[in-house]
Structure formats: structure tokens, C-alpha cells
Amino acid sequence: MSSEARVNIAIDARGVARRFGARWVLRGVDVQVHPGEMVGLLGANGSGKSTLLRILATLLKPSAGSALVYGHDVVKVPDDVRRHIGFLAHSPGLYDDLTARENLQFAASMLGLEAPNLDAALERVGLSHVRNERVRGFSAGMQRRLSLARLVLANARVLLLDEPYSNLDVAGIALMNELIGESVAGGGAALVVLHELAPSAGLLDRTITIRDGRIVGDDDAFLEPDALAAAGER
């Protein structure tokens, strides 16, 4: 494939492998996600899903293989990759002693935003009423919503989401789906680690299943949630 063609792929991972000490968590994974696609990443605990996501987010370097985000190599030009991605990790990554608004203010400064609309972002995730309260007192779901607000500010093209629905209530899940939907519809892409398919049913274009660091299934057709849940646990 020509390099020009690879620029038009949102995520293009080839033979990505990663080990921690002597243990191989990823053993050569190929993943392509095209603009406008939302792809689910399935697999049992410890199968390497999160590791793959973190490599694509430039947080880990692959031990072997290469990965591009819109043609930018995650190892060679990580800063270019960072301008394109929005990453949502397991942990909220917030400062407990800052208020919700201060956390967003900090994120906006670090993102280099001249005039960020913090209140709009807070409104969007439904945290306006607690904007001046410290994050320490927030529930896990509220913290996740605040992380989402940070994602809204960043306005990234490629979303890398690690179990985004955990701790969210029904309204939160709907909000998450709305944000993913907007991003994908606008020519972006999303790679989402999932434990269960129900929350994102109807949005997913395709699912990839990882087992023991290798891809065991790449399904174009949408599968029934029950079948996929079974695939994840197999």
C-alpha cells in the first residue's frame, strides 16, 4: 500500500507487539480503522486491548511493528499523533484538589486553547451545577463525565476509548454515544475497548476480538450482542 493511502487511514497498525519484562502482551496485531468508522475492541481481561490502545495513544512504545494515525507514526512523530487523538483511560486522570472547572481550565491551557468555552463543555456533560466543587467529592460517574468534558475541549479526530461506559448511568451512556457519533460523523474515527456490547449497540461498524495478544476475529458484519459477548469470553 502506498504511503499516501496510509495517510487516509485513521488508524493503521501493522504487526504491533509489546512485552512487559519477559511477558508478551501483544504478539503482532494488525488493525485498520477508516475515517467514519467506530470499531469495538473485544477480549478477555489481560488479552492486550488496553496495551494496544496505549500504544496508539503514544503512551507506550511498541516492542515491534509500527502504527500510524492519519499517516503519522506513533514512534517517530508522537507529537503529531497527539494532536489528532483523544484518549480516555480507565483512571479519570483528574486532580482531586481542583474543582471541576479548574481541571478543565488546566486542560485547556495545556491544550493551548486561546479562549476555551469551559462552561459550555461542563454544560454538555451535565456538570454545570458542580462546576466549583472539588473533584475529590465526585462519584466515579461524575469523574468520568468530567474526563469526557476534557475530550470535548480537545475536539480530537480519533477517539481511543478504554471502556468508556464503565461507571456511567443511562444518561451518561447516551451522552458518550452522542459524542462518539458526532466525532465519527464528522470524518473522525473511534476505537473503543468494550466489555459488553449493549451500550454501543447500533453504533458499532465492526468489532475486533483479541485473545492472548493476537487478533482472532475481525468482523465486518454486526454481530448479535450475545454472540460477541461469548467471543470475548471464549
Binding site: A17, R19, F20, G21, A22, W24, R27, G28, K61, P62, S63, A64, V75
Partner: protein, 235 residues
């Protein structure tokens, strides 16, 4: 990134065993020459001969710092794992020479100054450098991920090497601003010749040691890479 093919180009012994034998023989020869040729020092007697090993050990130790600096830079620049292994090998050999310098200095100091330790500028700065080496090796021991270990120890190695002249200068000032340090001038030509012969002997031994330590770590890595090949199903 590490290419799995690295397993195929392990370092070969080549002429290195011969070089090793030569280094050891040279070292023995230099010692024999030192004992036979030099007359007992007027003040120090036979004790003076410790200088034949103490001074070269100190010189070679400084040289290994330069080697660590060089390979640390090379690693950060080229990101080749072998450079990290070379820097680590040099640091281990360097700390051995550093320890040797200290022990020999103390053995000399006991009869010469009447104490095992004195806050002499050179001895003190050597001790500080030894501690910096220890920190470097401790860091390597406490970090498991090879990439992170290489990256961090390169940074620590460079910082340490930059600090070497500053440490030496500060300790010397600290001493000389309080008391003038006496350095007896020895003019015996055999003394100079023996010092140089021993310096070369130590240099050869150092090169051989670093090489052997490097080869050992390459084999360790090769074993890990072989495990990788199996894990990836590419054997």
C-alpha cells in the same frame, strides 16, 4: 526498536581471547618490572610502589566515565540497544576501578598519613564519583523495562559525567581554601616509566573487561529475544 534478527549476529570471540591473554600478561609484566626496577622511595620505601597501581586505576576510572558519557549520548541519539549495554558495561567496570582506586588510596594513606581516610581532594572526589556510579547501577537494578532502563540510565549517565569535573573542582576548592595540599615531586625516571607501563596495562584490562561484560549482556538479551521469537511464533 529491537529487531528479532539480532539473535543471528551475536558478537563472536574473534581475536578477543588473545587480546585478553595479552592484557593479563602485560599487567603481570608491568608489576614485575615495577617491583624489580624501582629503588625504594627515600621517604616512603617500598610503599611508593602502590602508586604504580593506584594512579593508573584512577586514570582508567576517569576514562570509563568518558566511555559511559559517549555511549549514553549515542543511545539517546541513535536509540540502539547495544549502546545502552556498552554504557552499562563501562559503568560496571568503572565502578570496579573506582573502588580499586579508593582501596589502594586508603592502603597507601594508612602508613603515609597515619590514617585510613583523609579528606584529600582527589580521594574525596573519587569517593563521590564512586557514589554516582553506585546510583547509576542502582537505577539499572530497580528498573525492569529495557527501553525505560536504557533511556533513564542514559540521562543519569550524562548528568553524572557532566558533574565529574564540577565535583572535582568543588572538592579541591573546599580543601585548598583551608589548607595547601602538598604533592611531592618524584623525579626518578623509572617511576614515570613504570607508571606509564601500568597505565597501559590497566587500559588493556579495562577494554577487555568492558568487552566481556558487553558480550555477556548481549547473550542475556539474545536469550530474551529468542523467547520473543517463540512468543511471536516467528521461529
Amino acid at each position: 526498536m529491537t529487531a528479532p534478527s539480532a539473535t543471528t549476529d551475536l558478537p563472536r570471540p574473534g581475536y578477543w581471547p588473545w587480546f585478553g591473554a595479552f592484557a593479563y600478561l602485560f599487567l603481570i609484566g608491568a608489576q614485575v618490572m615495577g617491583l624489580v626496577t624501582s629503588v625504594p622511595d627515600r621517604d616512603m620505601g617500598h610503599l611508593q610502589k602502590i602508586m604504580y597501581v593506584h594512579v593508573p586505576a584512577a586514570w582508567i576510572m576517569s576514562l570509563t566515565f568518558a566511555v559511559v558519557l559517549w555511549y549514553s549520548f549515542l543511545y539517546l541519539w541513535k536509540q540502539r540497544e547495544n549502546d545502552d549495554l556498552k554504557a552499562a558495561a563501562a559503568a560496571e567496570v568503572g565502578s570496579a576501578f573506582c573502588g580499586l582506586t579508593l582501596v589502594l588510596g586508603m592502603i597507601w594513606g594508612r602508613p603515609a598519613w597515619g590514617v585510613w581516610w583523609t579528606w584529600d581532594a582527589r580521594l574525596t572526589s573519587t569517593l563521590v564519583l564512586f557514589l554516582i556510579f553506585v546510583g547509576y547501577l542502582a537505577l539499572r537494578a530497580f528498573v525492569e523495562d529495557p527501553h525505560r532502563r536504557a533511556q533513564w540510565s542514559a540521562a543519569v549517565g550524562i548528568m553524572g559525567a557532566i558533574n565529574v569535573p564540577i565535583v572535582y573542582m568543588s572538592v579541591r576548592w573546599w580543601r585548598t581554601l583551608h589548607q595547601v595540599q602538598s604533592s611531592p615531586a618524584t623525579v626518578d625516571p623509572w617511576y614515570v616509566i613504570n607508571l606509564r607501563a601500568n597505565a597501559f596495562a590497566f587500559l588493556f584490562v579495562m577494554i577487555y573487561f568492558i568487552r566481556q561484560r558487553y558480550v555477556a549482556s548481549r547473550f542475556e538479551r539474545a536469550a530474551e529475544l529468542a523467547a520473543q521469537a517463540v512468543a511471536l511464533g516467528r521461529n
